[in-house]
Symmetry: D2
Subunit: 339 residues, 4 copies
Amino acid sequence: MGRMRRLNIAVVGGGRIGIMHAQLVAQSPQAMLAGVVIRSGNRAALAQAGLYDVPLFDDMDAAMKKADAVLIATSSDAHVGLIRRAAAAGKHILCEKPVAFEAQPITALRAITDASGVIIQVGFNRRFDTDFLRLRDMLRAQVLGRLHMIHIINRDPKRPPLKFIPRSGGMFMDFNVHDFDMLTMLTGDRIAQVYAHGANLVDAEIGRLGDIDTATISIRMHSGTLASVLCSRETNCGYDQRIEVWGEKGALRVDNRLPHGVISDSAMGSLHANPLPDFIARYRDSYQRQLQEFLTAVRDNKPPSVGLREAADAVHAAQAAKQSMEENRPITVTPIASR
Amino acid sequence: MGRMRRLNIAVVGGGRIGIMHAQLVAQSPQAMLAGVVIRSGNRAALAQAGLYDVPLFDDMDAAMKKADAVLIATSSDAHVGLIRRAAAAGKHILCEKPVAFEAQPITALRAITDASGVIIQVGFNRRFDTDFLRLRDMLRAQVLGRLHMIHIINRDPKRPPLKFIPRSGGMFMDFNVHDFDMLTMLTGDRIAQVYAHGANLVDAEIGRLGDIDTATISIRMHSGTLASVLCSRETNCGYDQRIEVWGEKGALRVDNRLPHGVISDSAMGSLHANPLPDFIARYRDSYQRQLQEFLTAVRDNKPPSVGLREAADAVHAAQAAKQSMEENRPITVTPIASR
Amino acid sequence: MGRMRRLNIAVVGGGRIGIMHAQLVAQSPQAMLAGVVIRSGNRAALAQAGLYDVPLFDDMDAAMKKADAVLIATSSDAHVGLIRRAAAAGKHILCEKPVAFEAQPITALRAITDASGVIIQVGFNRRFDTDFLRLRDMLRAQVLGRLHMIHIINRDPKRPPLKFIPRSGGMFMDFNVHDFDMLTMLTGDRIAQVYAHGANLVDAEIGRLGDIDTATISIRMHSGTLASVLCSRETNCGYDQRIEVWGEKGALRVDNRLPHGVISDSAMGSLHANPLPDFIARYRDSYQRQLQEFLTAVRDNKPPSVGLREAADAVHAAQAAKQSMEENRPITVTPIASR
Amino acid sequence: MGRMRRLNIAVVGGGRIGIMHAQLVAQSPQAMLAGVVIRSGNRAALAQAGLYDVPLFDDMDAAMKKADAVLIATSSDAHVGLIRRAAAAGKHILCEKPVAFEAQPITALRAITDASGVIIQVGFNRRFDTDFLRLRDMLRAQVLGRLHMIHIINRDPKRPPLKFIPRSGGMFMDFNVHDFDMLTMLTGDRIAQVYAHGANLVDAEIGRLGDIDTATISIRMHSGTLASVLCSRETNCGYDQRIEVWGEKGALRVDNRLPHGVISDSAMGSLHANPLPDFIARYRDSYQRQLQEFLTAVRDNKPPSVGLREAADAVHAAQAAKQSMEENRPITVTPIASR
């Protein structure tokens, strides 16, 4: 690969994910970190993350003056507004998921970004995990023949901070939106029906804030393949991220990745490592690969593999899951009209 | 344990399961195989299974004259009638699951067997698997604290013969009845709601016979714990029998048992054994332990741990699963009145 | 397989291994337990093992009057004398390993047993383990191409009772004799040179009795293939029995067998079962298969796959290991003259 | 950690390892790549590795003018001379292993580098692998109590190019020198005796060049703990790097790291990934951590954890292994006088 001019990227949002993105931009040989839009209270965390001499901004507008592109990693409820402003300013956009809590505004954004000519990519980072890519490629190569079942386990190691809950969109929107997107990405198929059963078992405070922390989601794909998502906000034993696909010729499984390979044998048994501790440890490489795709899309002026259309699909399914839970019945996921 | 008089047991049914039971009875130091009620066409299979000089009968009545107890392993639709006849003859009964395809007739049998004073045990053999017993004991000991999720994978290696389908009661009744029983046995909890989604993906002939071969079942227990059962009639890569339980302190998992421990490393990868090939290989020991419980129950004249009440519960849930699938909505599983 | 007359077998020796053999004979449909030659002090253990109404003898001569064959499971130093007496009485013989502590007397026994016409099989039970047989068959099928290395880990869970040490022949003779035999059985090759380094690290009392409890054994086979045996008398975490074979095309590994498949995940890590607790749990099936081979050899009047010749080879290598340790130099293992 | 002035490092040697080191220096926020001393024929590889605009030198003297330190990654037989020149020029030194093929010249270098005041670190990169560090820390914490056995498997995926063999020092010196160092690093113990058996089984050409490609090494440590190293130049199924330590309370095992977590189940079995493909994939992180230690040692002007003394120890053991093989007898490893 030849060299290209470094793309100046401003990271918007200085929370845990924003700082991780800022690190990745700073380390990329093809990008420059034009600055971070961050609240003054979070700035110490930047230095702790090894980010010195980074221009800091209170507002995205100031940052955009120095940047070719913005990487939006604020709380989700701010995404739509920021995308509008960035598109208006002609800046390329890499925006964290979910773009919005409903499919309609995402569809509306498509018209705006199409008109502006900017590249917009949505941060479904798991699409760039090498294990999931390997799985997808094997499925495309028909290793399993006809697919019977896709089975996703998606479990966080620790419940999120309570202050995060009210602006998260709820667990289906914030967390399982990854799973809905993964089902589509892995199979090329579309979600046809969702039945979701949520419960509040981990922390009663989460329930008091109107959210759930544990769920089973039973899905039918358009092709007839079944799918299941089992989800929890807290394992207390590592970040549990597994996918199995069963088909007529056998199965493919993506097992957890471990932080170390030391096994301790004692009278008690044989003790292996828990899975990696959190999403940053598990998916750092996929975030890096996601950034690389964005840089390439901008350089080549081509749409990235995951944009607003895919974002709308995933959010549409998350909405259906929420409705299913609230009405305790399966919900048909109708195709989005604008396709 | 001291010695006891051997119990004379007649095995009713000469199919694959009946012959396995006859072997186990013949090998037990505490039982005698009084005979096998078997169609003439199946008799060669007995000798192939190493069972020589076994008295053969065309009808259970003749066999019962020689026996203290009957082990009923016919097709499921004959169970209720045979239990009635055995109870009337004062014979103890070990009957394969499911006892019937509806809960009501099972409840009705309870009055009959209670009145007759015979011991009746129902063949939920998985309850006697040492791994599942270990899991149950750990759950009882509160190793996990509050339970969040029980997750069962129940997959057959090969689709059953088509002739078996029409008299099986359907996949939920024939196959998943084990899973419904296991949820109760492991937790001491009861099933409160079932949503089942079935599909016909393995073999279109199964569909033409009105049955399914693939399913997701989403369950809520009375305590609020969620459960999931994923099921298939054909893996093509061994008998896949896994259970995971997640709770506030971590998780317990029962992994598949392998037929051998040879690993083959080559340029292609590291090839491990598939799971055991079928239910007889996987559960032979639990069938043996089940028989032992029956012998002890008869000897001590005490009810076994799994009788008609537990059978009715499991069948009740299987009925609800079928109704849920047919009506595409979750079904509340109401308590059985006669309890 | 058709039925054959049951062979009357007297078990000689009432220790732990003798009782296990008596159980296996009693359970075999093709054998009858003619009695057990046992010290009066050990007789309670027979009943505890479920062996009732078994004829008990103080001496092998009395037992042989009731038997077609003897199964010798006394302490090793008595084996040669008992074999001579049994052969003189015309009884078939299944004798535990090692037959003697030197190769010469074993060779001498060959003339005697050949002349008497009795079948004699030596108890290298590991030859009948299905995992090792699978490994052997794959090696014979040239799965690995040219062999580079055979690597055996042979570790006992707990040091033996001290009273056992003085009559055991020493660790190489008592324990590693299995490994020397296995190298030959797996490859069809012969041991050419042995360098053994022993140490007394587990229990100083074992050292005071003149034995070792830990060893590395470095071996060259006649073909040039290298081999390594790592050995310990005490793991404190289960019975560790692994074999790896490396060759030009890859590797084959036999991993430990586990007593259960329950995995416990907690903040501490993921706890798996230790290997099976002892040799009886690990090799019970191979002892049973060994008995079956003996019964078949007697029935067909054909030599079993493992007789005095193989026993002499293994003992010859164990002697070389002991000499190597004592002289701290590699010892060439010369072919046994009488072959 | 605060920021420090970047250290200018010239990498000497433009082979595969030299280029990897150059990448790591270029990526370090605390170092600057002052240049690479590289033969003109290898320069294309630098650009392929993403290293552009790097000053290139024909000779170390020119490079040293621009550098504070040199990282020596030439063929091993050039190491001593380059270290002398760098020390004379007052440059800090990070030198690949082995420093020399005999202990004596390494000991002689100590006087020179001590006098010059430069920091010298030797490239035993495995010391910086997080799994091995975890193992060492657990051993230091007495998790196992008394140590019985250390068991290292060290196997390359593919034989080295034949042109590499003559200048490598031989397999014990080039490859197993890591294992000898690891035994010391893990235990804090010293090697007392070595018996090595080498063979030429992988490639006859390697034998014709006077080297071996397969070996067993049987070791006694000063404390009495035994050790075993099993080694091969070619697995054909990944880079096999395992260590087990056995002690009175159990065992610790470092298992291989896998390149991916996808498991493929089919009728053939369950196919897992082979270990990582080569030493760069397996140890890239440890090379990075090694560089970090060097940078810190220079900054703080303190000796690194692994210098010429440790290098002499490991080379001393490798010499003993070679002598053992040539004379087919165990060799006592006497302490190095100058300590």
